[in-house]
């Protein structure tokens, strides 16, 4: 035997490896062309928007740029004060030059009519500062040196170190402030991270509520779906197919129709309450509030997400032959022991898949809580929608969405570590 293994060659002396690569190149090109449309579709509709969203959550040029909606022309704003921030490190007290720069920028804002959008950007960090900009900009022409006093006279907030800190932070465009906001955190004058005022803490509570409600919905789905899936899996195929149609029926009905029918059923003047009053379980004045609160959200979402639990469970249960449980019984196990020790462990991949699926869907659910959730049944996605559509603070919406995305990814990673994604069976 020689020391180095001889290089294998084909009959005509080509190295085997390159010959193989050459012969496979054609089929690889073909495979690529086959998947190219889907690949492009995914990139355009999924990867790029998510990338943009992630980018928006850390980049917001509202303080330094103004885009003309009609012409698309971009005007640089606040250039003087931005230059001052670059020359003076964090923590420098704003001096007269800084105020002069600010005054010049405010005049420029008046000319470009961009005071509102710049104020908006600072307003994200310090609520109530939008009008500080709009009113001062309106009278910017009248500002005269010394600018520090002139501005302080226009509005005392111009002397507030927090406003200056927020402007400095906004002056680069890149910032983690939105992530801080999304976690109910902010910076004090020294730049240290602190919790926001008790009264305005909402996001952490909403994240917690979203996780809690999703966990509850997942659990309820599991408890409801397990027996159904078991029944479906043990019935003869013809009959189980029929019942499966019933399970899938909700899929064929519009989400809105289903949600509104829950409203009809559960509202305080709804069918369920009417029935209970008629039967005499509750009095006319004791009607139970089941809609526009957490109960409404849980009931409607459980109903909508149930099939996502039934299907993976069914698909792991169907191939489990009855002989396993029979074997356990013949070996002396009671039916409960046989279930617990032999049947249940074999369904775990389905339980894991179903739970993961339902939980992830529930965490991001929007329409149902929006319709039936009322005030205390709102989830984090409703707030994301609010910031997208109403407050137009897209960066905060993006930060919230990113946190949600990373939370789900972590969950997925944990699942992979504990159960192994290969063991997941979706159907």
């Amino acid at each position: 035997m020689s020391d180095a293994p001889a290089l294998l060659t084909t009959a005509d002396g080509q190295p085997l490896k390159s010959a193989l690569a050459h012969s496979q190149a054609r089929s690889r090109r073909r495979a690529f062309l086959l998947v190219a449309p889907l690949f492009l579709f995914v990139v355009i509709t999924f990867v790029i928007p998510i990338g943009q969203m992630l980018f928006q959550s850390v980049y917001n040029p509202g303080f330094i740029e103004y885009e003309n909606r009609d012409t698309g022309e971009i005007t640089k704003l606040m250039t003087n004060v931005t230059a001052w921030f670059e020359q003076n490190p964090q923590g420098t007290q704003p001096d007269e030059t800084a105020y002069a720069a600010l005054a010049a920028d405010l005049v420029h804002l008046k000319a470009t009519r961009a005071g509102g959008s710049v104020g908006e950007r600072i307003n994200y960090d310090i609520p109530g500062t939008r009008s500080l900009f709009t009113t001062t900009v309106r009278n910017a022409d009248r500002l005269a040196p010394p600018y520090r006093e002139a501005l302080a006279a226009a509005d005392a907030k111009w002397a507030d170190p927090l406003v200056w800190r927020a402007m400095r932070s906004a002056s680069t465009g890149y910032t983690l402030d939105f992530y801080l906001n999304a976690l109910d955190l902010t910076r004090d004058e020294t730049g240290a991270i602190v919790q926001v005022d008790q009264k305005v803490r909402v996001y952490v509570m909403l994240f917690m509520r979203t996780l809690g409600l999703s966990a509850a919905i997942t659990l309820i789905c599991l408890v409801l779906a397990f027996p159904i899936a078991h029944l479906l899996a043990t019935l003869p195929l013809a009959r189980s197919n029929l019942l499966m149609v019933l399970v899938l029926l909700p899929f064929w009905t519009s989400l809105l129709v289903r949600t509104t029918s829950w409203i009809v059923l559960l509202q305080s003047q709804g069918v369920v309450n009417d029935l209970m009053v008629a039967v005499g379980i509750i009095g006319e004045d004791g009607r139970i509030q089941m809609m526009y609160n957490r109960i409404g959200t849980i009931v409607a979402m459980t109903h909508i997400l149930l099939p996502f639990m039934v299907l993976p469970l069914y698909s792991v249960m169907r191939p489990i032959p009855p002989s396993y449980v029979r074997a356990a019984r013949s070996l002396g196990a009671t039916s409960w022991t046989a279930f617990r020790r032999v049947y249940l462990p074999q369904t775990l991949p389905g339980v894991g898949a179903g739970a993961l699926l339902v939980f992830i869907l529930a965490v991001g659910y929007y329409i149902t809580p929006a319709l039936v959730g009322g005030a205390d049944g709102q989830l984090i996605s409703n707030l994301i929608a609010f910031h997208m559509q109403k407050s137009l603070n897209w960066s905060l919406a993006a930060a919230l969405a990113s946190i949600l995305l990373f939370g789900v990814l972590i969950l997925y990673w944990l699942y992979d570590r504990i159960v192994g994604i290969d063991n997941m069976k979706l159907g």
């Binding site: 032959p321 002989s323 396993y324 029979r326 074997a327 356990a328 019984r329 013949s330 070996l331 002396g332 196990a333 009671t334 039916s335 022991t337 046989a338 020790r341 032999v342 462990p345 074999q346």
Partner: protein, 370 residues
């Protein structure tokens, strides 16, 4: 069921007493089954697919309830006893080893549910695994074992808790021929050495004949014959058993003459042959005479004196090593088989040759056609 007609069969260790079973309320899958199995017996249920063998086993194990009749185990009616209290070991066709447990855990399962302590458990597991020569595989998962190894583990698991009775439903069905023969031997050996009572279900008649003390041939929910293997092979009691067990030549004809233990049968083509009447009773009755290929003779000196002979034309001779197998044209049909031992002095027949064949009348059994 009243006490007066209870004892249709004698008291054995396992008794099926007038058992009937219907799944759908329309057809009977098991029709009036009476069967008594002695302690220590190896009884095989043999029969074509759908004849009700598994159903009988499931009723015995407690997974199906008898529609009518009694099943008794050790003189105790068990119709109302749930499966886990019957103390019956069972080997399933697909082994049913728990895939999420190791071999050791599989064997520990029946002991744990019985509340047996750890040290005793380990001793029993070791003994059971050694019994099937699988001691080295305690920590393997079933998926990491070959079919034959899984089979042994299933066997060990069914035996580890010392059951009174062991049921096996086609336990060797998934194995190749060689392994199957080996396992047949091992199961038989375990049966003998442990003194087990075994009820065994199989499709394979060779398996049934080699392993069993008695074989119950099932067809259509009815036991056609319950006998020792040699009785079954040599003296089938009806044409179903004659055709189902082993190879048999069939000649149809009419009973020409019948007296104690002897009959003359005239075939459709006019020849007359000797036979032993089994379930034909009178002259003129239609009958099917069955003769084993290895009992057919063509040399006059091998036949009993006075035996009738019948002309045959050799169609082909197949060399099979230990035997020669000749296909003959006899009485209008050309699927009559004759087997000859391949000895040194054996006459080699050649196609086209005509011979006279005959047999001992005891080997030709005149049966009522199906």
């Amino acid at each position: 069921m009243t006490a007066s007609n209870a004892a249709a069969v004698g008291e054995g260790f396992v008794v099926f007493d007038r058992v009937q079973k219907s799944y759908d309320g329309v057809t009977l899958v098991v029709k009036d089954l009476n069967l008594s199995i002695a302690k220590g017996e190896f009884l095989t249920m043999l029969g074509p697919s759908g004849s009700g063998k598994t159903t009988c086993l499931m009723m015995l194990a407690g997974f199906e309830t008898a529609t009518h009749g009694d099943i008794r185990l050790d003189s105790r009616p068990i119709n109302q006893v749930p499966p886990h209290k019957r103390g019956i070991g069972m080997v399933f066709q697909n082994y049913a080893l728990f895939p999420h447990m190791s071999v050791g855990e599989n064997l520990a399962f029946p002991l744990e549910v019985r509340g047996i302590g750890k040290s005793e458990r380990e001793a029993k597991i070791k003994r059971a695994l050694d019994m099937v020569q699988m001691g080295a595989f305690v920590h393997r998962r079933p998926a990491q074992l070959s079919g034959g190894q899984q089979q042994r583990i299933a066997l060990a698991r069914a035996l580890v808790f010392d059951p009174k009775l062991v049921l096996m439903d086609e336990p060797l069905g998934a194995l190749d021929k060689q392994l199957r023969e080996h396992m047949q031997f091992e199961i038989k050996h375990l049966h003998d050495s442990l003194g087990l009572t075994v009820v065994y279900v199989t499709h394979d008649q060779g398996e049934a004949l080699t392993m069993s003390d008695r074989v119950a041939v099932f067809n259509d929910g009815v036991i056609q014959q319950l006998d020792t293997p040699d009785e079954l092979y040599e003296r089938p009691r009806n044409s179903f058993v004659a055709q189902f067990i082993g190879e048999n030549n069939k000649l149809t004809g009419v009973v020409e003459q019948i007296e104690a233990g002897k009959a003359l049968v005239r075939l459709a083509t006019g020849e007359v042959i000797d036979a032993t009447p089994v379930n034909v009773t009178h002259k003129g009755q239609k009958t099917l005479v069955s003769i084993r290929p290895e009992r057919v003779e063509f040399k006059p000196d091998m036949m009993p004196p006075g035996a009738h002979v019948i002309g045959a034309e050799v169609i082909e001779v197949i060399y099979m090593g230990d035997i020669l197998r000749a296909r003959l044209h006899v009485a209008g049909s050309s699927d009559f088989i004759m087997k000859m031992r391949n000895t040194i002095g054996q006459t080699r027949l050649s196609p086209g040759q005509t011979v006279n064949i005959g047999w001992d009348p005891l080997d030709a059994r005149a049966l009522e056609p199906l």
